[in-house]
């Protein structure tokens, strides 16, 4: 009898030791175009838009964590609660959140990796070190990260992206872009850029874009290099300034001013758009697509 009790205790201990995580599967009704706020400190958050008027959360979370899923009419909250002192050792949550496609989504994390797809409402993301990957149809996107990389694919959007050391990569078919990093690299590919403002301190900036008529694009870097690739039929005034970096015109634009040493003023076509690129020591290169 004693042996059975001992063996049972050992089995229980073994079972408890193995089960460090628990499954979650919860669902709550939500309006078609309501607000959804998602917060998870560590692990991963995958967000998918769907056609149902509900928010569903599935996944696995650490044994000591708690999932809070609540709706108060317009707003739905998805929160992974960590213990009092936010001790995230050995504890993380990997959740998949399905929500109405037109929801206004706000996601906050420290180090969880974030993926979102099939969303058409506004999206706002704040991360410290978690990576952010968005493949969405939203018209309004705002992503902030410190060291997490940002990768964003959108169709037609107003995009704001800010990172410190994370790299930022944006693919947008048509849009206005405001992007800033300190040391992270910035890469933008756009079919039709209606406006842009890109700044970095030491990150490199690589733009492969088609400028919409009347587009104003400002790119500034201190020591990062700037590469701008434009279609040969572009119509734009292009002003380059580099204090000590080099400037190369490989797009065949005509020089209209500047000494060529620190300033180079160029024109392509009839100059319908305006591009200004400024660096301190970074090199500037214009290329043809």
């Amino acid at each position: 009898m004693k042996l059975i009790r001992i063996l049972s205790c050992l089995a229980l201990i073994a079972a408890v030791a193995v089960q460090a995580e628990k499954d979650v599967n919860e669902r709550v009704s939500a309006p078609r175009d309501g607000e959804v706020e998602i917060e998870n400190i560590v692990g991963s958050i995958r967000v998918e838009g769907w056609s149902e008027n509900a928010v569903e959360v599935k996944g696995t979370i650490g044994e000591n964590l708690e999932l809070r899923l609540e709706n108060d009419g317009r707003r739905t909250i998805v929160l992974v609660k960590y213990p009092e002192r936010r001790d995230t050792r050995h504890q993380h949550a990997d959740i998949v959140v399905r929500l109405p496609v037109a929801s206004e989504v706000r996601i906050e994390t420290v180090s969880a990796d974030i993926e979102a797809s099939s969303i058409s409402g506004p999206v706002q993301v704040e991360s410290v070190s978690g990576g952010v990957e968005l493949d969405i149809q939203s018209k309004d996107v705002d992503v902030e990260s410190i060291s997490g990389d940002i990768e964003l694919r959108a169709t037609k959007a107003q995009i704001q992206a800010e990172a410190v050391s994370g790299d930022v990569e944006i693919h947008v078919q048509e849009g206005n872009i405001d992007v800033e990093t300190v040391s992270g690299d910035i890469a933008v590919v756009s079919g039709k850029l209606t406006g842009g403002d890109a700044q970095s301190v030491s990150g490199d900036l690589d733009f492969d874009v088609t400028l919409a008529k009347g587009c104003r694009l400002d790119i500034e870097s201190h020591s990062g290099d700037v590469d701008l690739t434009l279609p040969p039929e572009t119509s734009a005034e292009i002003d380059l300034e580099a204090y000590s970096g080099s400037m190369r015109n490989r797009v065949g634009a005509l020089q209209t001013g500047g000494d060529g040493r620190r300033e180079l003023d160029l024109i392509m076509g009839s100059g319908d758009s305006r591009v200004e690129i400024t660096t301190f020591s970074g090199d500037i290169e214009l290329r043809a697509k």
Partner: protein, 215 residues
């Protein structure tokens, strides 16, 4: 990441180290790949464990550290947060609000005020309001940064704060480069505007570090 790619990463020399995070995540979940890693783990010989974990630093290192510690003490008046619990955050917040107000004012003034003639402006053909305001912003930023850096308890040392400090050092190098160029070539408006921008970036990094320390 697929099992095939994870195993390739573990086995081939040319793997991209930046994929380590994704490989790690996969390994945490995939029992098959865990088994693969365990089987192929070259743990049977661990040459590194034979190396000493203690190596005497140069004898003159401590005096250098001591000198830096003493130099830090001489920076200026320090704010004793222990006498004013909670006050350091309030002070930081009020300083940041003041800076924000100055920057806002700068933007408003730039769009409405008439050019003001000064000795430096006389060198330029165009009105130089932007240059003066950029100089004012830079001065204010520096003042704020100095005050923030003196207030204790603002930087809990965690690895992410350390990373932000390194970013701040890069920005400070950029500020130093720009100031040197301005001293050499004069207060060209674009250069002044770049300087102001860099100071604002520097300030934002301090704000990020504070937020991390609070979280």
């Amino acid at each position: 990441m697929s099992c095939e790619n994870v195993r390739r990463w573990l086995e081939f020399d040319d793997a991209d180290e930046t994929d380590a995070l994704r490989v790690g995540e996969h390994l945490e979940r995939c029992v098959d790949c865990q088994a693969f890693a365990a089987m192929s783990d070259p743990a049977t010989s661990l040459p590194a464990t034979s190396l000493p974990d203690d190596i005497s630093p140069p004898a003159d290192l401590w005096p250098q550290i001591e000198a830096k510690i003493q130099a830090e003490r001489v920076v200026g008046p320090t704010f004793d947060a222990s006498k004013h619990p909670g006050r350091d955050w309030q002070q930081a917040a009020s300083i940041l609000t003041a800076v924000a107000a100055i920057i806002f004012l700068a933007v408003v003034i730039r769009s409405t005020v008439a050019p003001v003639a000064t000795e430096s402006m006389a060198r330029f053909d165009e009105p130089n309001v932007e240059s003066e305001l950029a100089a004012a912003i830079e001065q204010e930023c520096r003042g704020v940064m100095r005050e923030l850096s003196l207030a204790p308890g603002l930087g809990v040392v965690d690895p992410r704060t350390v990373a932000l400090e390194a970013e701040a050092r890069e920005v400070e190098l950029a500020i130093a480069d720009t100031r040197l160029a301005i001293e050499r070539d004069g207060e060209e408006p674009k250069m002044m505007a770049s300087l102001a921008r860099l100071c604002r970036v520097r300030l934002r990094l301090t704000e990020h570090a504070q937020e991390l320390a609070r979280s």
